[in-house]
Amino acid sequence: MALRMWASSTANALKLSSVSRPHLLPPFSFSRCLSSVLDGLKYADSHEWVKHEGSVATIGITDHAQDHLGEVVYVELPEPGGTVSKKSGFGAVESVKATSDINSPISGEIVEVNKKLTETPGLVNSSPYEDGWMIKVKPSDPSELDSLMGPKEYTKFCEEEDASH
């Protein structure tokens, strides 16, 4: 997600850690001071995650991204059957105040889109790694996943990015 990240000046803001599962929260909730990063996923520097299982990769935006964006009020996604390209945009997320492009971490064919997000965009906030997934892609080149960040690397990336704002 091409969201320009920034951080609060407070020292304890956005402390990041790996947790086994994100906490489920109601769609509209107070901003949290803790963003979760899951093991077993790959992460892009534009704050999307990828979960590769078998021949399909599932893509969404990270907890860190949704935390910065605020409440999501609209998610614009492509139609199944289209293609995505690594680092190119495939959709957009709208919050109360801002619009952010969503970039795909990998290239491939879109095989499924999360239609639930049309009616319940807040799932991106409440469950960014599960119910808030966005598209499923059949990767055209699985080796593209190798250049993405693992959870520890992504956690460090977020800390550094926040510290620079």
Partner: protein
């Protein structure tokens, strides 16, 4: 790269600086260290404020509460905003009112002492230089607040005209209240909470009225006004007492009045149908086009006497070519610059502000359309990322206002 609250701050800064080329360049390259800070800056940070550049200032766009929750809480309980980045000034002298009437569309002479109004500074073509709340303190003292992003050009404009006015023997001088800070306390709890901090009976101070009085031990300028559509106050407090006053307000409300940032403030003013200078009002937009005909005093419509009067009075007579209207829409929230089309696909205007309304839980927007297509219920298409979305023209405010007026 697009989006993010930081981007919002930047885009508003750039738009507010429109018309001042140097300011644009300067502000685009200002590092955070070069941003001005209000006296509340450390207080904001200590309370979880997320600071972003705004009109050359480091301002809180949000605190721990989400923008959604902050907006709703303002209307249900109350909000406390730091608006010290806005510029307060006083005009004094026997001829203060006639002087100001050359520059704004309001009937300044007709204001009773202790009352104020929203007005517009115009340029020679009738376009808006800035909007401002002006208050007559006494017949020879006028207090004004202008927008942060317009401060430099407003002050230059006033100074230029003041020189000419004084050269002809006019009696007017000014003072910029940089020793003061401005808080906006808005929402249903604003009056009950503030009443705890002053002995004067606030139930006798109505919307648009002004008093100089003691609040929490310091002399404040109090105006019953705001830019949220709610009942509330703008409080000019000596800067050295500002943080104490903010703390006292929050304490008296027992946590119900919340610190609230610019993000929610923008949602609130949009829900109230109020213009944001730089988005909905600019140098090429007249008050008539912006739907502020009501702000031109009756005598001023007859007499003119302000810059650009010929253009404005002609528009009054003939009607403007474009008009600001509100919209509801489906699909993605509209944003500034989204194209508006009629049902046949013809361009009829542009969105100037839009977003998702926290109170209504639907998309709202305002923009300009060709006259004739401005009636409520007119169907339109709003083009977002190349795709048309259903929209409909609607009257504003989107959320009813709750100004405290004599019943």
């Amino acid at each position: 790269m697009r989006g993010g609250l930081w981007q919002l701050g930047q885009s508003i800064t750039r738009r507010l600086a429109h018309g001042d080329k140097k300011a644009v360049a300067r502000r685009c390259f200002a590092s955070e260290a070069e941003l001005k800070k209000t006296v509340f800056h450390d207080f904001h940070v200590a309370h979880g404020g997320k600071m972003v550049p705004f009109a050359g200032w480091s301002m809180p766009i949000q605190y721990k509460d989400s923008i959604m929750d902050s907006t709703i809480n303002c209307r249900e309980n109350g909000s406390l905003f730091d608006v010290s980045h806005m510029c307060g000034l006083s005009l004094k002298g026997k001829d203060a009112a006639p002087f100001l009437e050359k520059l704004v569309i309001a009937d300044v002479a007709g204001l009773a002492p202790g009352t104020g109004t929203l007005t517009v500074f115009t340029n020679e073509k009738g376009g808006a230089i800035d909007d401002s709340v002006i208050t007559k303190v006494t017949d020879d003292h006028i207090y004004l607040v202008v927008n942060a992003g317009c401060r430099d050009k407003d002050l230059a404009h006033i100074e230029e005209h003041m020189k000419a006015f004084k050269a002809k023997g006019g009696d007017v001088s000014w003072h910029i209240h940089d020793e003061r800070s401005l808080l906006a306390l808005q929402g249903p709890l604003a009056a009950p909470v503030l009443q705890h901090l002053t002995k004067e009976d606030l139930s006798k101070l109505y919307f648009g009225e002004f008093r100089v009085l003691d609040i929490n031990g310091s002399e404040c300028f109090l105006t019953r006004t705001g830019y949220t559509g709610e009942d509330g106050f703008e409080i000019s407090v000596p800067s050295e007492h500002g943080v104490d006053l903010a703390k006292a307000i929050l304490e008296k409300s027992e946590g119900k009045v919340r610190l609230t940032g610019l993000g929610a403030r923008d949602s609130l003013r949009l829900e109230a149908g109020l213009c944001l200078y730089g988005n909905d009002m600019e140098q090429h937009i007249t008050p008539i086009e912006a739907g502020l005909t009501w702000a031109i005093g009756k005598r001023r419509r007859a007499e003119g006497g302000f810059l650009g009067a010929d253009v404005i009075l002609k528009q009054l007579e003939e009607g403007p070519k474009i008009r600001r209207v509100g919209f509801f829409s489906s699909g993605p929230p509209p944003r500034s610059h989204s194209e508006i089309q009629d049902e046949g696909g013809n361009n009829i205007g542009e969105i100037t502000s839009g977003g998702f309304s926290p109170c209504l839980q639907k998309n709202i927007a305002m923009g300009y359309v060709k006259s004739g297509l401005h009636k409520a219920a007119t169907k339109v298409k709003i083009i977002i990322r190349g795709k048309p979305n259903e929209g409909v023209v609607t009257k504003m405010p989107f959320v009813p206002t709750k100004y405290y007026k004599p019943s």
